[in-house]
């Protein structure tokens, strides 16, 4: 066809009509909204929210970076008085709890045998009906087991169990009850403050305060200041007395290895040296009743050579007595501070004596109530916090087990606690939960060895998704009320619900609403902030409320305190036999196993051995070689309560006769990151501890003897250290050439 003007116009008209008729422009005018946020749409705009994290020892205030509704990074809140902008590596791993593939997605009901881990999803309506029915039918005698928390959460728990006649237990695998009892007796409070930042000479006893004891993040901040004064002469000096080569021992100027459980004797040996070299000191006169070193005569270091077991190599050619006397001069001249007595030192049979001796040493050093010494916090914001913050002892767990077995306890509610994993199997708590007569409900967000026993799962929100508050005990000279706020919502495929709000709604539904402190956890926090006279938005922006500094009140030692402590002196007694003292220790990031499901926590190398993901046993290198062991050999660790396997790690720094094993391995149920691992490299050291109590009712988790037997098998140790041989650059011929070139480029 010839293209004429007439034809052109005709075809153009037809084409235009066809285009309109076929709706050609529809796609042009349509924009699609993708279902999920595409990664390339994240444009780097972020928001930082202040919140609080209770899951690490001592707690810490955090700033969380949120992009597109997702939390990306945490860092310490620089405004908060305790951690001052720093955070522990365990806090970094919090992010993984938000996006963990093994989170319990929503309420579930067991549809298999108890402990099988088989559940079916149910609606929240059905879950709450079942929860309410269980509380209504079995609330009298109910046992509520939670993690250790104070302030509003503890108030809600207390009000809930009181309304129905139940009991609330706070669980902490790293039982420190001996230290708390000792501090109450010696200083009048359960957790006196240590002003490390302003101290000049530090003596620590047993406690690994730079890794997991007390409030390690805040202690590390203070320790940095202690170590970094401008004048070298003013730089703090640190001696550590302990049986295990720990983070704290490694950071000290001098680590003085002592026999297991001899921390109290070491502290009183130093006390004797202080009293004998400074009888004129008013502090010495006050604590000894002006009797000088007399009451301490039995702690003359010359008489304690066997008890302390300090190797001669560390004494710088001095006798033990001269060594302690020189220490006493140094500490009295420069303002000494004694810290510790808790942690592993408090977990021997003589734990309370150890802790009391260390704390009382501070009276002799004259530092109590002074800068660089022991300081007492102004007290919690809400006065009845300490009563509800107390932790449960071994005896409490034994009683709870008996009550479940006898039928007095018909309902157990679990929240973020794993006593089945972390209590010695000899307590029998796990076996009691297998009892068909007890109903078990868990509100933990993840399956663990305790939650897997539950009949009903009502998953809580994780720390970054929920409201919360706390009453930190660490000394800052201020009253503190940190506030935790939800910085993100749960992912769309998750449906958790705040456990505090579940307790409140159940109480309201069952006619006990009047006994609850507020209509929701958020309302309670709002009311508390308002009572403190602070705008709520400001409290959220700052991470909470804190007072102006308050002068510390110096406690007075009770009359006859020193004599009481000396009367309690006893050598540590251990359960079982074997060539080794078994010293479990909390892993730097996995802690007592509570973070075992978080890959970041598992893969963070242990600061001293650089081992990750595995359970190892640190033993003295020479002793290990004499036993024919090499690194990575699988060994059986046997105590009076059972045995586990672990990989041998020969450590020249570990004293002979000590077997140190990290907690956190060997979980039986839950996330694949934590459970079902090869038993040769993942063992639960808590399961082979004897269920024995110390002089204040706490679990003696340091007081077990064990034998170590090679299994004839070996595995590669997953560690960073030693992968490449360290040597001086320049040995290789090519490196000689490199080394001969000067920095300026000439020869």
């Amino acid at each position: 066809m010839k293209l004429t003007r007439r034809n052109f116009l005709a075809w153009a008209g037809i084409a235009a009509t066809g285009a309109i008729a076929c709706d050609l422009f529809d796609d042009e005018l349509r924009v699609q909204s993708p279902a999920l946020i595409p990664e390339d749409l994240v444009k780097g705009r972020d928001n930082w929210y202040a919140t609080y994290d209770n899951s690490v020892p001592g707690g810490q205030s955090l700033l969380v970076r949120v992009m597109e509704g997702r939390a990306k990074k945490v860092r310490g809140n620089p405004r908060f008085p305790t951690n001052q902008g720093k955070q522990s590596p365990a806090a970094d791993a919090l992010l993984q709890s938000l996006y963990h593939p093994d989170r319990i997605a929503g309420p579930m009901l067991r549809n298999g045998p108890r402990g099988s881990g088989r559940y079916r999803a149910i609606s929240w309506e059905e879950a709450l009906n079942r929860f309410n029915a269980a509380v209504a039918d079995r609330g009298d005698g109910m046992l509520l087991v939670t993690e250790s928390r104070c302030a509003g959460f503890a108030h809600i728990c207390k009000a809930f169990v009181d309304a129905f006649g139940g009991t609330h237990y706070r669980f902490d695998a790293m039982d420190d009850s001996a230290y708390r009892a000792a501090a109450k007796n010696v200083m009048g409070v359960e957790n006196p403050g240590h002003d490390i930042a302003n101290a000049y000479a530090l003596a620590s006893f047993g406690s690994d305060f730079l890794s997991t004891w007390g409030s390690p993040t805040a202690y590390s901040v203070a320790y940095g200041k202690f170590r970094s004064r401008p004048n070298v002469e003013d730089r703090g000096r640190h001696y550590h007395f302990g049986s295990r080569y720990s983070m704290t021992a490694a950071n000290a100027d001098k680590w003085i290895p002592i026999n297991p459980g001899a921390e109290g004797y070491a502290a009183l040996a130093l006390a004797w040296a202080v009293a004998s070299t400074h009888p004129e000191s008013s502090a010495v006169a006050q604590i000894t009743g002006e009797a000088g070193p007399g009451p301490l005569r039995d702690f003359n270091p010359d008489a304690l050579v066997e008890v302390l077991g300090i190797p001669g190599e560390v004494l710088d050619g001095k006798s033990l007595r001269e060594f302690f006397e020189d220490l006493a001069h140094d500490y009295m001249a420069h303002g000494g501070l004694a810290i510790g007595g808790g942690g592993e030192a408090g977990a021997y049979s003589n734990g309370r004596f150890n802790a009391e001796a260390v704390l009382a040493l501070n009276y002799l050093l004259g530092n109590v109530g002074k800068a660089g010494g022991i300081l007492i916090n102004p007290g919690p914001v809400f006065p009845n916090d300490p009563e509800i913050a107390g932790l449960t002892s071994l005896a409490d767990w034994q009683r709870a087990t008996t009550d479940i077995n006898s039928g007095r306890t018909g309902l157990v509610i679990i929240h973020n606690a794993d006593p089945v994993y972390a209590l010695p199997s000899g307590v029998g708590f796990g076996a009691a939960l297998a009892n068909d007569n007890v109903v078990i409900i868990s509100s933990s967000p993840f399956i663990d060895d305790t939650t897997v026993m539950a009949d009903l799962l009502i998953p809580d929100r994780t720390a970054l998704e929920d409201w919360g508050d706390e009453s930190p005990e660490l000394f800052t000279g201020r009253q503190l009320y940190p506030v935790q706020q939800p910085v993100v919502n749960p992912l769309a495929d998750l449906d958790p619900r705040s456990f505090a709000d579940v307790m409140i709604s159940a109480a309201i539904d069952l006619g006990h609403g009047d006994s609850m402190p507020a209509a929701s956890y958020e309302e309670l926090i709002r009311a508390n902030v308002a009572e403190l006279g602070m705008d709520f938005t400001e409290a959220l922006k700052n991470g909470g409320w804190w007072s102006e500094p308050v002068a510390s009140k110096a406690p007075e030692p009770a009359a006859g305190l020193l004599n009481d402590i000396i009367r309690r002196a006893a050598l540590a007694d251990s359960t079982g036999g074997g060539d080794f003292q078994l010293l479990p220790f909390a892993h730097h990031t996995v802690l007592d196993g509570r973070n075992a499901h978080l890959p970041w926590a598992q893969s963070a190398p242990d600061p001293l051995t650089t081992i990750a993901w595995q359970t190892w046993v640190e033993i003295n290198e020479k002793q290990g070689r004499a036993m024919g062991l090499r690194e990575g050999d699988v060994v059986n660790i046997t105590t009076s309560a059972g045995s586990i396997q672990a990989l041998a790690y020969l450590n020249p720094g570990m004293p002979p006769g000590i077997a140190a094993v990290p907690m956190g391995g060997g979980r039986r149920s839950g996330s694949d990151y934590a459970a079902g691992r090869d038993a040769r490299e993942s063992g639960n050291v808590m399961s082979i501890l004897a269920a024995s109590a110390n002089d204040s009712g706490g679990l003696t988790w340091s007081a077990n003897r064990c034998s170590i037997t090679p299994m004839g098998d070996s595995m590669a140790v997953s560690k960073l250290e030693g992968g490449y041989t360290s040597r001086e650059v320049g040995e290789h011929p090519a490196e000689q050439v490199y080394k001969s070139v000067s920095a300026e480029g000439g020869h």
Binding site: R30, Q32, S33, A35, L36, L41, R45
Partner: protein, 219 residues
């Protein structure tokens, strides 16, 4: 014959008037209204001021790219779900309770549509309201930056009510220069009396000493 000529003239005149108005402004008789959307999204509820019953969500919270790229971008459904996971009428948490109680059944149906799309991982096909020809390059970021940053100054822009503006302004105010007061529109409509045509662009560029070189705007 004369009557027929008058009728034809009137029709042609009418068509010319409609075309004239359409060219220089918005088409009359509702022909220029925004198309119907697959889900009713009330901008006034989301972006309106709290005093007016809105939630005062800033424009750039959803249109994340508007201050950093060429396109303002339509938010992913997952962005909606960040909030509507809670504000959905069934899963009531304390923080969201008040918002939910204010919702009417129609709103709940539309929220459910959003949640369904997200659950099915299917996109929402929104109908475009403001559209420029394909040969035009318009960079949102540059315009937002001009209006929201820099020293204090007064300008008159040939869009909207053409009143003098004290710059810099906030991002939502900058958006409203071209898009109108979207924060108080239940349904987004083109701004009255504004065509977003080349003349508007040129007037504004000349008014503010910005280059009018062809390649500034034309691809």
């Amino acid at each position: 014959m004369a009557i027929a000529g008058l009728v034809v003239t009137a029709i042609v005149a009418f068509i010319l008037v409609v075309l004239f108005i359409s060219w220089f402004s918005n088409p009359p008789f509702g022909w220029g209204d925004a198309p119907a959307q697959p889900i009713n999204f009330p901008h006034d509820v989301h972006a309106g001021s709290v005093e007016d019953g809105g939630h005062a969500i800033q424009c750039e919270f959803c249109h994340r790219n508007v201050t950093s790229g060429a396109a303002a971008t339509v938010p992913a459904v997952e962005v909606c779900v960040i909030c509507h996971k809670q504000i959905n009428g069934s899963n009531v948490t304390e923080g969201a309770r008040q918002s939910i109680e204010e919702l009417n059944p129609d709103q709940l149906i539309n929220i459910q549509r959003v949640l369904d799309k997200h659950a099915e991982e299917r996109p929402i096909d929104w109908e475009r309201v403001h559209r420029l020809p394909d040969h035009v390059r318009f960079v949102h970021e540059a315009h937002i930056r001009f209006l929201t940053q820099g020293e204090a100054r007064i300008v008159t822009l040939p869009v909207g009510d053409e009143k003098p503006m004290n710059l810099p302004v906030t991002v939502p105010e900058a958006c409203s220069v071209c898009h109108g007061d979207v924060a108080h529109m239940e349904e987004v409509q083109p701004q009255d009396g504004q065509s977003l045509k080349m003349g508007t662009c040129l007037d504004c560029h000349r008014e503010n000493d910005v280059s009018t070189d062809c390649t500034i705007c034309h691809k």
